[in-house]
Symmetry: C2
Subunit: 214 residues, 2 copies
């Protein structure tokens, strides 16, 4: 069975979204500043079918983290509002989402699987985070499962002790208010196993020690 990984951009004050998140602006005010480093890379531009952008550490990291073979995502990250599904909503990413793999979406509302172009299929899981993790492991075989986000899904899997590697991209901005990644996640034992410093972002990969099953 593969590892469970998670990577996310975080502000120096521990926030992964700015204040006043809304349906129209799910990343909150100023939250997009956490992702500026992504948009500058050649990796990102290539994924959008464009040329240009910067090579270097940030670009190499983005290539690396987008090679998952199964993803799990919270409903807010998939979007489309709460409650019963509007079947017109097919995520934020257009016809060919950047996952190219099965994506298990955590929800309380059933919905048929949604195959997209490029190998992405959104599957909707209504029986909890453990079930989603089992299904993702089954899809990934001996390769890794990635928790794609958002913050609430990551917090739930951290609190459950399910995440083996947390890869934080520490962006040197102070948002001041917004959504905290690491509230109410217990006291996991973390070890920094790889640190990559680019001129703009510090990427730290933490290994999380497995807890004994209680």
């Amino acid at each position: 069975m593969g590892k469970v990984t998670c990577q996310i951009s975080i502000s120096l004050d521990g926030l992964v979204a700015g204040p006043n998140q809304s349906l129209e602006n799910p990343i909150g005010e100023g939250g997009m500043r956490l992702h500026d480093w992504v948009f500058a890379t050649s990796s990102w531009r290539r994924q959008q079918g464009e040329g240009g952008g910067e090579d270097g550490a940030d670009s190499a990291i983005l290539d690396e983290v987008m090679q998952g073979v199964a993803y799990i995502m919270g409903r807010n990250m998939f979007g489309g509002g709460s409650g019963s599904w509007n079947e017109e909503w097919k995520g934020w990413w257009g016809d060919d989402p950047p996952y190219h793999a099965p994506v298990f979406v955590l929800t309380h509302h059933p919905r048929q699987p949604l195959p997209m172009l490029g190998g992405t299929t959104f599957a909707f899981v209504t029986d909890g985070i453990e079930s989603a993790l089992e299904q993702a492991h089954a899809a990934a075989g001996d390769q890794d499962v990635a928790i794609a986000g958002g913050a609430s899904a990551i917090r739930q899997y951290l609190a459950a002790g399910s995440i083996d590697e947390l890869y934080l991209h520490i962006v040197p901005v102070i948002l001041g208010a917004g959504e905290r990644l690491l509230d109410d996640v217990g006291d996991p034992v973390l070890e920094p196993v790889k640190v990559i410093a680019s001129p703009t972002v510090t990427h730290i990969r933490y290994r999380i020690a497995k807890r004994a099953k209680s």
Copy 2:
């Protein structure tokens, strides 16, 4: 005139002290975990007049950051409770504090300067953070002034735009609650200029862009 620097250990969730800080336990519950890396170093043990401890990146960094020529410190970090001074209180550090330099203590209550062994003199400044900074610059000449802490003093100088370099020792623990370093400090422009990864702690030195004086 030298730079204004600040270095401090911070948890992965942005805290510099644990919950339930008190006169007896100013670092709060679990807060001492932020400093375990210090106590393990040969530099620390040498400063205590002891042998042993670990050489390596953490020890070299501790040597480097303790070479200030003038320090500024908040009253809570100096200790002894609030209100008028109990003249018996001479700080937490014994007769020979580790500063070996003038230390300007921010307080609302006047007190005569307190010379200690080893070159440390505590001087008590009652007319505000700008005055303390001027006095520290005068003492340091063209060398750097260090804001020693605690969190409240650092926040005030960050919010005032006075700090040129913020050196964070990011400790991979999640305290969950306690005192946040980066609340209410405005939106400084930070640039990571040096990153040193030890097996336990990630040390990131940020340069803070000078703001135009308004």
